[in-house]
Amino acid sequence: MQFEDVAIAFEQPVLEGISFQLPRGETKILLGVAGSGKTLVLKLSLGLLKPDAGRITVLGEEVTQMREEQLYALRRSMGMVFQESALFDSMTVEENVAYQLLEETGRLTDEIHARVLEALRFVELERTVNLFPSELSGGMRRRVAIARAVITQPEILLYDSPTGGLDPVTSDTIIELIVKQRDVYKTSSLLVTHRLQDAFTMASHYFDREQNKMLPVADGSRRDLKTTFLILRDGKISFEGTAAELLRCRDPYIREYLS
């Protein structure tokens, strides 16, 4: 994914001259104060919104030049976890998770049911298959949204504040799932968050498949988690780099933001 000099305004400029790259298999964490345009970056990369200027390329296709009808095919290669989950409230968990597959096949087959269970097992919610979203807690809804996003094994995953409004324990569960997706399936991800601790957890932990849990990277380890940070400020990128570079950064705004 590549953003080149992207700008968008709603009465006032929100994003100006945004340029960055998300190489295949890497994760980029978008940080910034509320209203800095983080969610906009996700919506622009999906083509849900068109920028006023600049170029966005996703999986080799120029999103900014594509018509809505052309974008539907590209979006099927991507997954998005929305801030408030955006589950279809009139459908069961199974129908929600299987939504994209049901659109393709038209009916719930045994194969789709098995894939739904596998996706729900990934988020440890296979018992909720017949429940409605209103019967789930906020954290469970967020996990179902993750299951819905990963069921088709997309090439790019976009997370919009996946831990926003959740308690620390549930947040850790969600972050562990995201780290698991990153390390097990090597999916490229763009993650928006307000919570610095979540961002640093992602940058300092890996998922151990044998122990089936998230573990901290040992000091001095050469393990490359392929996770970088991008901080937005007043519509522009004020920092881009690794966790170590971020901690070393002397920019007063970044220091204040981190504190």
């Binding site: 919506k43 999906l46 849900l48 809505e68 009808e69 539907y72 095919a73 590209l74 979006r75 099927r76 991507m78 997954g79 998005m80 929305f82 801030q83 408030e84 955006a86 589950l87 279809f88 409230d89 939504y99 994209q100 659109e103 819905r148």
Partner: protein, 259 residues
């Protein structure tokens, strides 16, 4: 309170007309493209058509009855009480059946569609649908427009019949007419042009009801308050459009059938 210039208001209105026209255009062109959501269309037909049957029948019956009652004194003055069937028949089939059915269904379904789609819009469910590569106009708008157009046609026929039955009850119980006389005059009064007029109007009205409901639903902004506003606007606009278009359709068809 902000003051808006007349130019801004005019631009907003033109923009709304443009957006509505585009939505209408897409909802029609979707009928000829793939995928076709037959199951969704049937579900909407059940919700809009079967669900509206009780209120349409009640409104039709009492309108026919009150029509017979109201006109009886005037007809009696001219010694033409036997024409009650003819009067009820022409009024119901050409005008009151389609218009009252349209207004009833607009009140029930235009608002219902707007609130349903509006809730989906403000909770990002529409964006989630687009993000998963599903076209909301194909999945949500076209099935509602097709179902509403077809079902209003049949609902109007039922309304006409029930209205005639209402007139018959009054004619036979209170006005002393015999059944044969009532039904013979009612039947013989109708010409092809009357029936054509009575059956073409509900097709237009059904289209207006669903398309206006979908437009306001998909344009809803600003949380629950926005959904409430969209619901009210949809019902009011659909009702006004039905009444206004009724005049133009009547004038046009009166010219065609040389009344």
């Amino acid at each position: 309170m902000p003051i808006f210039s007349p130019a801004d208001i005019a631009k907003d209105k033109i923009q709304a007309v443009q957006d509505y026209s585009l939505l209408v255009g897409r909802s029609i062109s979707n009928i000829f493209g793939h995928p076709r959501y037959f199951a969704d269309t049937m579900m909407q037909a059940d919700s809009i058509g079967v669900g509206s049957l009780p209120i349409v029948m009640l409104a039709g019956f009492f309108t026919g009855a009150v029509l017979a009652l109201q006109t009886s004194s005037t007809l009696q003055q001219f010694g033409s009480l036997s024409l009650t069937g003819k009067l009820v028949s022409l009024s119901m089939v050409r005008e009151l059946g389609p218009v009252l059915t349209g207004l009833m269904v607009a009140g029930r379904n235009s608002s219902g569609i707007a609130s349903e789609l509006g809730s989906m819009q403000v909770t990002e469910q529409i964006d989630a649908m687009r993000a998963m590569g599903v076209d909301p106009t194909k999945k949500l708008v076209t099935p509602r427009v097709v179902a509403s157009t077809i079902m209003l046609f049949f609902l109007s026929i039922i309304s006409d019949l029930v209205g005639l039955a209402g007139g018959w009850v009054i004619a036979t119980t209170l006005l002393g007419l015999n059944s044969n006389e009532y039904w013979t005059t009612a039947y013989q009064a109708l010409r092809f042009g009357d029936v054509f007029m009575g059956l073409s109007k509900p097709v237009i009205f059904g289209f207006i009801i669903a398309s206006v409901g979908c437009y306001y639903g998909l344009s809803a902004r600003g949380g629950t308050q926005g959904v409430g506003r969209a619901t009210t606007q949809a019902m009011v606009t659909a009702s006004v459009l039905i009444v206004v278009s009724d005049l133009f359709i009547t004038k046009l068809l009166m010219g065609v059938f040389a009344y």
